[in-house]
Symmetry: C2
């Protein structure tokens, strides 16, 4: 079940899961560490995946009635001070702009003391406060509600320990912000988005998730309820892949977002916010990657079918290239998964075998190798990346050109499904529900090891709990922390009755997922 | 020729051109001033126009072989210090991040002195330095060249006097960055992009421009050559709408971007950079707006055909809505300007007349008003926004449903062309080439007036000049500055011979455009 923890083809030796992850990111040419501490450079193949995520999710966001806007990067510090829990949650990781000019002082370029800002500006870690301020101006009456906006933007949270895509001080995301007339409507929005994220993760990213509500201690700072989708990575850890928050009226009160109802009465709006980020790309890598690098679900592969011409500096090369170009053109005219097929003829000046391995490492779903014999015989020889396993043994198939063109859409759909099925079997097969006491839990997960050391694959535990709050919850959190465990979420899908709380011994009120996490 | 300087329907009285501009931005619901000094909030209709610009330009950037990437928002201060002219050009308008945490001190939230950064970070005003640093790692041999990347991003330049879209402290843009083996290849790239921008501005934005080379004093800080496209606004001023820079080897030397040629010799790359920004939206407004608000070219209109149902709380309403929905669906299945038609049925709870004027102000190219009679008779009554003039008189036409569906693609193409033709006539008719001395120039433009006071429409002057440099050019600049004039560019299209320099009296070497500018 558990995949190998190194990219043997790439690194030449085995290593921990984090080593493997790093190797895939590097060898699939997705991203690299930047000279700006904690930030990343997203390279074309990685950014191409993000563009696919943007396009496919943006469509869903629009279809559910949300409009895209753009709000300022900098937020006046005073805006944060208004919502106490919110600032408490973010103050420790905020990048602060204090000057608006540089000056040469003592031969050294420095912030100009005469250009110090009266009020520092925060580089947005999230935009509830500045968007809420706009809402307070845009909303007058109940006819303005619900107000549904979204923005695609970069945000900054100063992280001490960073990892490409998974935790970077700057990342790209979408953040939805909505205002409603009552709690019912706002809660319905929160859950509608949660479902949108679930469907998106499973259908587009081929990444099965469990949607549920976060416990109180894991809520977004200032939220009444936080919901998440949680995915299981190949090391058994959980990745929180998207969150949707019901903010109650606390942000509306802090920002004075009010509306006049039919009777002329002024009331505070109920607001929500929700987001997914470039972190999803880390999730895709850790869900689908293998010892040969990345495997991309066709729905997000920037190129779904890559054609590598086998050239030998001989006259037949021209025929191979011509045949390849015609094949690309014919593929682009066909549709797979609802869109024109994204095909490419790789004409880079590079050895064919190196090219092939490049595309294997990058995870192109179908790799075609065209030689003079294929061109002469009207044939296509190809391999499915999802079925390539264990290094060099390429299992290729041959078809006539016509048969391949005919089969391509179904093949891509099959690959998308196969990747999902594989991940779904891993998720379903690795949630234990037979652990009912804390001692069993501790024994099952064993002593915590340093993240970079790896450790045995464990998956998650699903157990009944009494939903403790306050100090009682703090105690639970402490005990879990000692085992490097966290509460993930209480799945939406709950049994009729549940057992005794694993932590408190009280009657359980719901089941909750417990696991190690990113 | 010159359009009115107020939006009479909107403001109820006349005003200056800047007043008119502000009114259009506000009444077309494009953007608003934000509480963050100098930054703007781009509202859905304005952001929709930006998304259309992104999509249509991005396609062109890809088709010319460029890959999208993403580089960090923050640039270490030291990176700027390496290229002296570059830092000199931007140091005065840089937002500087100095701390990474806030702390409550004396009851007040402040930057935590213990979280002061060792080296301040600059919020990117442009990314040559950080992208150049990546290039120095990515480029090894001539086989890695040309390296062609682009990024869509936000940038910050601390502006003291801001105006929505035209000059804001934060703006959105694309910035292309490329590296080449020699000057010839890099210059060819610079000009290829200039031509791409010209074609894009004229075809997509319906905004005629003059492409040419900027004089030395107007170059991008650190560039060997800067080229621009310049558009003429309805007040006669020039708007620099896009720039393309040949950077020579100066950035390559500062960032150590070198490659090994076939002979094993290490050489510096020749680099280029180029960009257009949300400023283009200001250009579109000032090119096509009229006294009723905005007029959008169909190619960038988020909605090209808007259907306003005339509802009266009567049983026939259902029939009107059904007829409208079917019409939207049928329109969306047709193509105009190479894409599916973007049609909308406006079902908002609002008076029909208010809706209609909303869409007039927002500049939807075709506005359909559907009443019970249209629904019953299978008819479509519509108006072309480009032909609506002078307030209330709506000139509408009626067609059968089938005829309208048939005609819609051509109608949209016609509107696109009509808007271009109108602007093109204004540009062509307002460049004087009969002014040959500085005194004539001064007399023609007259005494400078404050920007906000407006002033008579003047257009540009095209005159021969001797291309002075250094102190001689500084003197020219000074004399022009006193008249609030600037040198725009030396058009690519030059005559065989040219007259005497308007400034120096020496023989002219090329013709250059002179005008007031944004």
């Amino acid at each position: 079940m558990q995949r190998a923890l190194s990219v043997s083809r790439v690194t030449g030796n085995r290593g921990t899961f984090p080593d493997w992850y790093q190797a895939v990111v590097r060898e699939a040419d997705m991203a690299e560490v930047s000279p700006t501490r904690g930030a990343m450079i997203i390279k074309p193949w990685g950014y191409g995946v993000w563009e696919r995520i943007q396009q496919t999710l943006d469509r869903r966001i629009r279809e559910t009635g949300h409009d895209n806007c753009y709000f300022p990067l900098f937020i006046p510090l005073g805006f944060f001070a208004k919502e106490a829990e919110h600032v408490e949650g973010f103050a420790k990781e905020m990048a602060v702009v204090t000057h608006h000019r540089l000056k040469l002082i003592d031969g050294k370029l420095q912030p100009d003391p005469e250009a110090k800002l009266e009020e520092p500006l925060i580089v947005r870690p999230t935009s509830e406060t500045i968007i809420g301020d706009a809402f307070s101006r845009w909303i007058r009456s109940h006819r303005d509600l619900p107000l549904l906006v979204n923005q695609w933007a970069n945000v900054v949270r100063w992280e001490m320990r960073t990892r490409l895509f998974l935790r970077t001080s700057e990342f790209l995301w979408q953040e939805g912000h909505t205002a409603h007339a009552d709690a019912e409507d706002a809660r319905a929005e929160t859950l509608k988005i949660l479902e949108m994220y679930r469907e998106f993760a499973e259908t587009v990213l081929a990444m099965p998730v469990i949607a549920g509500e976060k416990p109180e201690n894991e809520r977004f700072p200032g939220a009444d309820n936080t919901f998440s989708i949680e995915a299981m990575m190949q090391d058994g850890k959980a990745l929180q892949a998207g969150t949707s928050h019901y903010l109650g009226t606390s942000f509306a009160q802090a920002q004075n977002i009010r509306f006049q109802d039919d009777a002329g009465q002024l009331s505070y709006c109920h607001t929500t916010s929700w987001g997914v980020s470039t972190r999803l790309i880390g999730g895709v890598i850790m869900t689908h990657g293998d010892d040969d690098g990345l495997r991309l679900p066709p729905a997000i592969a920037p190129r779904q079918i890559v054609i590598v011409p086998m050239l030998r500096d001989k006259p037949e090369d021209a025929q191979v290239l011509e045949y390849g170009q015609a094949l690309v053109k014919a593929l682009q005219e066909r549709f797979a998964l609802g869109e024109p097929i994204r095909a490419l003829l790789d004409t880079k000046a590079q050895r064919s075998a190196d090219k092939r391995w490049n595309w294997v490492r990058r995870g192109a779903p179908i790799i075609v190798e065209l030689g003079p014999r294929d061109a002469a015989g009207g044939q296509v020889t190809f391999m499915r990346r999802d079925r390539l396993r264990d290094g060099d043994k390429v299992q290729s198939q041959a078809m006539t050109r016509e048969a391949f063109l005919e089969a391509a859409p179904a093949l891509l759909a099959e690959i998308q499904q196969a990747l999902y099925d594989e991940a779904k079997a891993r998720l379903d097969g690795n949630i234990r529900s037979d652990i009912v006491t804390f001692d069993e839990l501790a024994e099952y997960f064993g002593a915590p090891v340093d993240e970079d050391e790896g450790g045995a694959f464990k998956g998650w535990v699903r157990a009944a709990w009494s939903r403790p709050t306050g100090a009682e919850l703090d105690a639970v959190e402490e005990r879990l922390k000692a085992l490097k465990l966290t509460l993930r979420n209480a799945p939406m899908d709950q049994p009729q009755t549940c057992g005794t709380c694993l932590f408190t011994g009280k009657p359980g009120v719901e089941e909750i997922l417990i696991g190690r996490a990113y």
